[in-house]
Symmetry: C2
Subunit: 406 residues, 2 copies
């Protein structure tokens, strides 16, 4: 007997037909004798509709009201899935964030999970009851509904799995696992049987949309074994696990890409101590995250060029913030560029293998692709290139690192 958390995303519960399939899938695990908590997202499209309504009323909305509105989507699904389970003769009940309670901090719209009280849910496991938990939501210190940010149901599921000390957290989605790269672009992409937390974290934060970054962080911190698998295909997915559970480690496990970043270049910035702080300070104050940063060597010791990337969604605001302090920063001009893509090769094997970056640069050079910005970490090399080369670069790198399916 195992204790499992099963999480179903929006496409897996998009209509009543699918909700009934989810119930059948859950019943199989119940029949196998497992203790089951189910975490559900809103039906596909519902959250977007709710967010759109809020946006139509007010651009600068009260995040507490936003949370009350958008959390309703998961409430509906939780009730419907519990009903569908009951209809199959499975003992089940729905749990809303405030009922568990799943406590969070008070940052509405982007709350972080705190204490999760699981005693009652565990007691009911003993009675054979399945807990159907509304994902994405909790309750803040103000006793109002909080939400965890888009994709937060993954985080709900992992946090619940940690609190329940579950044997595994299965994330059911519309893909059947984590691939070496996007199979829609690279037909030779392979599904990975296993991937380490660190790699998954880089894959997620570098653009692979299969799992929310925060959920992977949380899984890593609490050693929750996570499986990503399809709710439509009945096959094992990809296990996200500790490095020591992976026997033969590839040097490069996957290649991610992100079209969500934009490049900003400040031309002829004064080259003096404190200038970087005076640029990135105001951006941070406006909650604009900066990812890659490159500062050119100053030729004359007086002015330099500075390039960095921000999320495309933040570009307008970032430019406005910088224009405001143009006088103080003393830069000559500001050059935004949205037609860029960030490509990242990822693998924990890099730690012990040299030459991964070199191979990346050479492969791209061979295809005539110019690299605009480079950044690296212990298990990742990322480059920014012109967006039009996305597919070409991905395919070339996939082959170069020996990832192509036979």
């Amino acid at each position: 007997m195992a204790r499992l958390v099963l999480k179903f995303g929006g496409t897996s519960v998009r209509d009543i037909e699918r909700i009934k399939s989810v119930a059948l899938r859950v019943k199989r695990e119940v029949d196998a004798g497992h203790e089951i908590a189910v975490v559900v997202s809103a039906m596909a499209g519902v959250t977007n509709q709710l967010v759109d309504w809020v946006g139509q009323i007010s651009r600068l909305h009260d995040a507490r009201e936003y949370d009350a509105v958008v959390a309703s989507g998961e409430q509906v699904t939780a009730g419907l899935v519990a009903l569908a389970l009951q209809d199959l003769g499975v003992n089940a009940r729905s749990w809303l964030g405030w009922q568990i309670p799943l406590e969070t901090d008070g940052v509405h719209g982007k709350a972080r999970i705190g204490e999760i009280t699981t005693a009652e849910i565990e007691r009911r496991f003993g009675e054979g009851q399945v807990a159907v938990v509304a994902g994405f939501q909790g309750i803040g210190p103000d006793q109002r509904i909080t939400t965890l940010g888009r994709g937060g149901s993954d985080t709900s599921a992992v946090a619940l799995a940690a609190a329940l000390r579950a044997d595994r957290c299965d994330i059911f989605t519309d893909v059947d696992g984590v691939y070496t790269t996007d199979p829609r672009i690279v037909t030779k992409a392979r599904k990975l049987d296993r991937i380490t937390y660190e790699e998954m974290l880089e894959m997620a934060s570098q653009g692979a949309k299969v799992l929310q970054t925060r959920s992977v962080e949380m899984a890593m911190n609490h050693s929750v074994r996570v499986q990503v698998l399809s709710s439509f295909v009945d096959a094992p997915g990809t296990l996200v696990v500790d490095e020591d559970e992976i026997v033969e480690q590839q040097v490069v496990s996957g290649i991610a890409y992100s079209r969500d970043e934009a490049k900003v270049t400040l031309l002829r910035v004064a080259d003096r101590p404190g200038v970087a702080a005076s640029i990135f300070g105001p951006l941070a104050d406006h909650a604009i995250n900066v990812d890659m940063i490159v500062q050119n060597v100053s030729e004359d010791g007086r002015a330099t060029d500075l390039t960095f990337t921000v999320a495309k969604a933040d570009l307008e605001r970032a430019l406005a913030v910088l224009e405001q302090s143009r006088e103080q920063l003393g830069f000559h001009s500001l050059k935004p560029d949205s037609n860029v893509v960030k490509i990242s090769v990822i693998g924990v094997g890099m730690r012990s293998h040299a030459g991964v970056a070199k191979q990346m640069f050479q492969t791209l050079a061979d295809k005539g692709i110019n690299i605009q910005v480079i950044s690296t970490s212990e298990i990742k090399v990322s480059v920014l290139i012109a967006e039009e080369y996305t597919e070409l670069a991905l395919r070339a790198l996939h082959t170069a690192y020996g990832l192509d399916a036979a």
Copy 2:
């Protein structure tokens, strides 16, 4: 300065445009210096969609899950209306049933309201904050969401008005008041300036859909002044008040009709003591309400005919229950008839005026309309007639009682 509860039904909040209009309407009362609680229904069509989903999953559903699902509609509207008010610069926050708390008994799907804790809402009145309350919902002793039954938002509003000792409860709807009869059928119908609780109660329970019966009962029991008015037309509506607030009382105030009832005739039932109990007992056990009852005089002292009405929605079940006990009851046959309408003339003036019933029977006879069943109360005379005569009967009675508009 007055304290007001403003309730907006589903058509008044059917889309974002209307929600913004509601906010403007509320703002006018705030600007006039009043303390305001707003009670909202789900956006038109939403509750039906949710109920339909539940029905698609399971016919014999767990009412606790049903409640969690359908209560989400009002949650969305409460948040959106609060946001729309904030967007106009009005201090407002939403309240869900469990947050107030609005306590109910544990009868999920049809809960009755108990204690409503208004201290925090009243404290915030002092800070100029508008309370936007999700109608139709409360919290049960099991700490789960309860709902009050269809149309329950009217009841929420009146109960909240009673708990807040509000000066008035305004029910905004898609009609501009209570009419002497249905103006879609009788073009000479007049809007009433005032109507007594008792009359409104009869109008509501006899088929006028403008207010939920339970909400009128509650208004009467707690002396809450209720106004029914249009959310689209800017004009006073109809005030529902105590009898002593109405100076000149008509003998007949209104004429209601209901097509929701069906007639059942049991032919040749054994005429012995206890037979009525043995018929209506099992129906009551199956929660089937019986309205009108007529028992014919027995000609031979051995068998009689018995006619009664039930809600059309209950007809199938009523027939099944009776068939089950056919042996025991010893009736000869069972005749259902759905093609009937109940017409009721209503007025507190009847108490002191004779001849109201006689005038009704004569008016119908003059038009050649056969009366099938009659029932009366202190302030009401109801008759069951063939459904095809509905319009003819309503128009003739409206004229006969002097209700036609000039």
